[in-house]
């Protein structure tokens, strides 16, 4: 439910503004409009090229196929010098006349058609919107009491195709006129200009500024960046604690959260704050493999979006806590321990083996320590000390001591 409703205002906004853009009228405030139009032309061209090659080979009696760069860990390369994950050059053929690929082939073209329409109309759709856009029963299936075959079984299927399409035609999601569900919140000493609207993040009350899924310079600009650093926390509950204690005011920072694995919007935002304004990114995450991997994604980029690492990864990001040593260092009670299960252990070992962790002695120690502890801890465990222990003691002390992992 939330998925469908959250983006409504934004969708309206864009659609309100975009017709002028698409109309091609070179009106005033469109300094960025020019670049959008270029990008659109490029994207549309790429999609047409894709379809053209299929038409050509079909009419020539050759097998139509699409080359899709492989998005798998095998095709992800660790660029040590730059400290980010990058996508390798492996490509996969997606063929129509291959039983395992035919359906995906069809879906790729359906979404290509959808995006083509979006670009023509100058509108954007959410991932879920795209799912519905491409969704219909395939003609000729079903009947006789049987349900027909749908073009997409669920949104996951559609999302994956869109990511494939991104890498295939080398366009970003926003260039495809597609955005994700909004997730993540920001507050702090910064003013953001979002699609022309000025938003003072110092005055966001208890809710904070919802980070949009598209954080490209064309949509979001920063103004009055007074903060010294960014504190990124794992989830909303912790963020609330910090916001209520006005932590960002006292320590002059920006406070963000990504509701678990941060979405592209949040990562892009952090990346830009780091790159454009030199703000250090400090992460406060759980002491478990999941938290470690969130840090890894923020720092190096993720496997499935390796092709976007350059615009998302922040190699300088720091991991402040929770650390495996904190159980003793902070004198926490037994009650906060959550036993590591078999899956956790395996995941931890897997993470330890990632090349970008394997060479990091600090991290090897950290994960080993967690494994030898035999338990994980959430940020909330600090509440057992005191309600505001985390904002008043833990984080300030660690910041002061620069006690973090890099």
């Amino acid at each position: 439910m939330a998925k469908k409703t959250t983006k409504k205002p934004a969708g309206k906004k864009t659609s309100r503004k975009t017709p002028t853009r698409a109309g091609g009228a070179a009106t005033a405030s469109r300094s960025r409009g020019g670049s959008w139009a270029e990008r659109d032309a490029k994207t549309a061209e790429a999609i047409r090229g894709l379809a053209d090659s299929i038409v050509k080979s079909s009419l020539a009696g050759r097998e139509p196929k699409v080359e899709v760069p492989t998005r798998s860990s095998a095709n992800t390369k660790w660029n040590k010098s730059r400290g980010i994950l990058q996508m390798g050059s492996a490509r996969q053929e997606r063929q129509l006349f291959n039983l395992g690929q035919a359906r995906k082939f069809m879906q790729t073209l359906l979404h290509g058609q959808g995006i083509n329409e979006l670009i023509d109309a100058g509108k954007t759709l959410s991932l879920r919107g795209m799912y519905y856009k491409g969704l219909h029963t395939i003609a000729g299936t079903g009947g006789k009491g049987r349900a027909g075959e749908k073009t997409f079984d669920d949104q996951t299927e559609s999302d994956a195709i869109l990511e494939d399409l991104e890498v295939t035609i080398g366009a970003l999601r926003e260039e495809l006129h597609v955005f994700a569900k909004k997730r993540g919140t920001m507050v702090g000493n910064i003013t953001v200009i979002d699609n022309g609207d000025e938003i003072n993040c110092r005055k966001m009350g208890t809710g904070g500024y919802a980070v949009p899924s598209i954080c490209e310079p064309e949509v979001i600009q920063f103004k009055d960046v007074e903060a010294d650093f960014v504190l990124h926390v794992e989830k909303d509950t912790v963020w609330q604690r910090f916001n209520e204690d006005r932590f960002w005011e006292q320590h002059n920072c920006i406070l963000t959260e990504g509701s678990g694995q941060p979405p592209r919007g949040v990562r892009r935002l952090l990346h830009r704050l780091n790159k454009e304004h030199g703000l250090p990114i400090i992460c406060l995450l759980d002491c478990d493999p999941w938290g470690h991997y969130i840090y890894s994604v923020i720092k190096q980029g993720s496997i499935s979006l390796a092709f976007e690492s350059e615009r998302l990864a922040i190699p300088e990001a720091k991991f402040l806590g929770i650390r495996a040593k904190d159980y003793e260092a902070c004198g926490l009670s037994d009650d906060v321990q959550i036993d590591l299960n078999e899956r956790d252990r395996n995941r931890a070992k897997q993470i330890m083996a990632y090349p970008w962790f394997a060479e990091n002695k600090q991290w090897q120690r950290e994960i080993k320590k967690m494994l030898s502890n035999g338990f994980k801890m959430e940020v909330e465990s600090l509440i057992t000390k005191d309600i505001s222990y985390v904002t008043e003691v833990y984080v300030p002390e660690r910041l002061k001591a620069k006690d973090w992992l890099g």
């Binding site: 999609i47 299929i54 038409v55 079909s58 009419l59 050759r62 097998e63 139509p64 291959n98 395939i138």
Partner: protein, 723 residues
Amino acid sequence: MAKKRANAETMASKQREISVSEFFAKNRHLLGFDNPRKALLTTVKEAVDNALDACEEAGILPDIEVRIEELVAPASASKSGRYRVTITDNGPGIVRKQVENIFGKLLYGSKFHRLKMSRGQQGIGISAAGMYGLMTTGRPMVITTKPRKNKPAHHLELAMDTSKNKPEVTVDIETDDFPETSSGTGTRVVIELEARYVRGKTSVEAYLEQTAIANPHAEIVFVPPDKAGEDPGLEDASEKSPERERGAGATDEIDPTESRPGADAPGSFDAEIVRTTEHADRIVYPRAVDENPPETSEIKPHPYGVELGSFLRMLKDTPEKQLGGFFKREFCRVTPAVVKQVCDAASVKGKTFSGQTWVKNIDHASAEKIYRALQEAKLRSPPTDCLAPIGVRTMLAGLLKGVKAEFYAASTRSPAVYRGNPFQIEAAIAYGGDLPADQPARVIRFANRVPLLYQQSSCCAFKSVLETGWKNYGMSQPRGSAPVGPLVVMIHMASVWVPFTSESKEAIADYDEIRKEMKLALKECGRKLGIYIRRRQRMKREGQKRDVFERYIGEISKACEAITGTDAATLYEALMKQAKRRTEIADAVLDEDGKIVGFKDGNGRLDGDDGVIILDGNGNGNGGGAPNTPGKKPGASATGQGRSDAKVAKGSKGKQGRKKGTKPPRSREGLIETGPGNNEVVESKPAEKSRKKVVKKKLVKKKVRKKVRKKRATEGAGLFEGG
């Protein structure tokens, strides 16, 4: 000692000869009259067997009518009722003076004393049936026979004196009341008996059905009790003239399938399928081949099959004076060279034998020596012209008639020998179609074309089915049992002397030689079935694949049109053409009209094999979902095209098949096919490399298998000829 013990004299007063008929009257189960249900079947069986034998011997295509009337219904399900069985044939008839001997005397016949392939062997069958009828109902057997074309028929009523094994003729008149038959001659036997009419596995109907399968040259009309009263007019007609009835059936009685194939080309198999038809008043098992089985010759016994006792008796009874003449007259395959060899081997110091040795001078000990030497001698196998196998085509025709399946295969082994008796094994299978898929295969067994309905599990034929590894051929087979699946297995043993396990001739005895041959025959069929099943699976896969492609191609063409403006219909057709090409194997079957695809002469799909027929009854396949029709109506044209494509594929498939061994023709990427007329585009290009490999592998396998088969065939012949 209150009671006086018997002494030799008193005992002697009670000792007397037992008549054979008396013996069998008391031991009727030995002849197959154990219970009322079986009695009815045996009666029909003996009469029909005799009729078929007589017709074939006289060179007449058999027309046989079996009519069973219920005179008194069984009081309850377990009790017997009274039935009248009438069997009419168009055979040569029987001369007047032989009638009472043939029908009224046990152990009287032409077949016992000779080694010749025939249905009956001992000459007890029909007279036993008459005796059984007489015993249970008191009604004599009524025989009407017309041995000469334009003379009246003899009408006899026969009772039998069981104590004397002697027939009693109660009525003996000449009559004109005999149906007109195609041959102008014929015989009708009417027996009334206590019996029970049932349906099912061991019923008269099952027997006739199987008889029709093994004897497709015969036309059998069956009027079961529940149909006997159905249509009085027709009944009347049929009683008078089965010929007329058949004519009526052909002209106005429905069913074009009843028309005879092969009328124009005798012996060749017509493409039309002749099927059993059921009418309101009768069941017709039509003739499927218009040629009697070849006449078989009588053979003399082969020394290997003769026991010492018989040998001594033959030595005693022979009219020949000298040993050489004796061997020549009484045995087959004993050449003068062999005689010399045997004589030399049997000779000892002081007592030498040669071809000139006087037979009467040979004493018991010498005879035994000669017999042993004869058994040791290397002899050629007996001649095989005494055997008339049903033959692959005829078996297939028979199965087609009686079993609704989609795949038929048959094989005839070369003759072999057990105990000096030549025999020949044939097997056929029918698979798929309407056959039940979840039950054990049905095994139908034949000995000299006679169906064996009882004692399946003790029969050599059934055991050989169990011992065959059907899993190798794509069937499931629980341990130690028959394969499970839509399968009918037919096994036929042709021999001058079929070794039955009992007098009632229900199961074939278990000789190693026989079982081995049966298994080999089954394996031959099984291999063909395996190829077919695998091919079918592949076709099914390809068909499903085509479905998938077809579904998506519509979507893709529409999407491409939206993006590039290319006409969706054009694109759709181009892509469908590719899809068809890539899944062409599926076409070969899916687009058939459900008719015969062909025998193996180039049209069939099992390379160059005569023993296979494939029908496609289930034309469902790919037509299920209507194809997407963007723009114009490419759907309709696509289907039409598919059909003609298929024909091309089929036609050229044979070619391809022959070529297969050498080199699979490469498909040519980039060439635009010119459509249905283009024979070049046959080989489906496997979409992936891996599949290409698989196909190649398969070809190699097939090649090897062919070689092996050839080798086996020659081995088989050698085994037999070489002795």
